[in-house]
Subunit: 257 residues, 2 copies
């Protein structure tokens, strides 16, 4: 490694299906000498034998980001990879945070963020058109923010009639958090508001469960699930074959909720 | 045209750059016998001479959606196209709304929604990582919802510390609406909160303006602009060459705003 002309691509790999990854992402990955990221995402990238894979555990985003900057400043072309879109609860924010808090020289590194298809878009498409109105995207994880902030945001969003997409809905360390969120939302939304659990969309083990907020059961949700909570304008269409579509009306006649 | 085996693909074309369109979208478009959509989007699709292009004006989404269903039930393979993601203020919701309110037979039509890279994700990547925390996506258009609903949602989102992405920020019919939204947000957010105007990202006429909520000037915004309003945890990094990155901290130490 010699100094100078390295760079960082922060690449969103999409939901897990190569057909949902953009050509722009493929082109960036093809230039990489080094791949950095959470091990399952690094494993998803096809690369030649000369490419160095720096796979790491979850929860070490800042260490990973600093490592990427150091490699780039040493002249390597580094692809920092995330599932979905790297800007949505992925590695992009960690890379800039590392640079912002690092030595002044770190601001000289070239960083290009390549957007990817986020899980919320893939899940919504699989369900129909539940994001047809205004919506918000919230991480339920309390690793990085207090639970009261999460609850305040959920209440504000649901109270204002936004559809809510929840990332990181559940983990072994906080098995009760999703149930608490549903309990809060039941105090705000009519019980009939549709709720969808969209697991591993675009992958072989994809699974979709449709329910409503009155009956939503956290036990049916794992960390690979995108939880989508409708608003009072989210409708269900039942087809002759029993399949269902969800969509949210584009028109709001009067204040929703 | 003979009845029976038609279908609808609702396809998100991405932000306007072919490298940001997924292979899945290309594969769906390649099967289409008919293309339906707002004229500039239909014009973006390369297709053979046998493919019928039904380009229409803006604001006729439901007519377009009904036409797509009728063609599909007559045996055609119809691609209904939107810029960005068809599920985010695009045609997907209109297609399901048409089916929901149409004859019972319409529920038999096959509909597949192919997700696309939404403008908010492309704009965020171009800016750095402004969506690093929780965020919401709101259409400022009052064609389909009362202005008071828009304002209630903006106030709820900003008050709860969400980053706000605004679609359809301005049109000739409502030139003052964005200014009213900024005025509202100035009563809620510190004046230093970063604001970005990201116009036509991924296209030849791309343009980015960075400012803050105290100084945000609606005159710099047109209908092709994605307006991104940070939260108090959105930071600016200034590089030695004068370029700037925006990112939002992943960590929330205490209630934001």
């Amino acid at each position: 490694m010699t100094g100078g002309t390295g760079r960082i691509f922060v690449v969103g790999l999409g939901p897990g299906n190569a057909a949902q990854r953009t050509p722009e992402a493929d082109a960036a990955l093809a230039q990489a000498t080094d791949l950095i990221g959470y091990a399952p995402y690094v494993a998803r990238v096809e690369a030649g034998p000369d490419v160095v894979r720096h796979a790491s555990d979850n929860r070490v985003e800042l260490d990973r980001a600093r490592h990427a900057v150091e490699l780039a400043l040493a002249g390597r072309t580094v692809a920092v990879v995330s599932g979905g879109d790297a800007g949505v609860f992925g590695m992009a924010s960690a890379v800039f945070e590392a640079i912002d808090h690092g030595p002044a020289a770190w601001r000289g590194v070239e960083v290009t963020v390549i957007p990817g298809l986020s899980a919320v878009l893939a899940a919504a498409a699989r369900l129909g058109a539940p994001l047809g109105g205004d919506f918000c995207v919230i991480s339920l994880s309390d690793n990085l923010k207090p639970r009261e902030v999460v609850h305040r945001r959920l209440a504000a969003a649901a109270g204002a009639g936004l559809v809510v997409a929840l990332y990181n809905p559940r983990s072994r360390a906080r098995p009760d958090q999703l149930g608490a969120a549903f309990a809060l939302l039941r105090t705000i939304l009519p019980g009939t508001v549709p709720v969808a659990f969209a697991r591993a969309i675009g992958r072989a083990d994809e699974r979709v469960i449709l329910t409503d907020i009155a009956h939503a059961d956290p036990e049916q949700v794992d960390m690979s699930t995108l939880v989508l909570i409708g608003c009072p304008l989210t409708h269900t269409i039942t087809r002759a074959n029993g399949e269902k579509w969800l969509y949210t009306s584009r028109s709001v006649a009067a204040p929703c909720a």
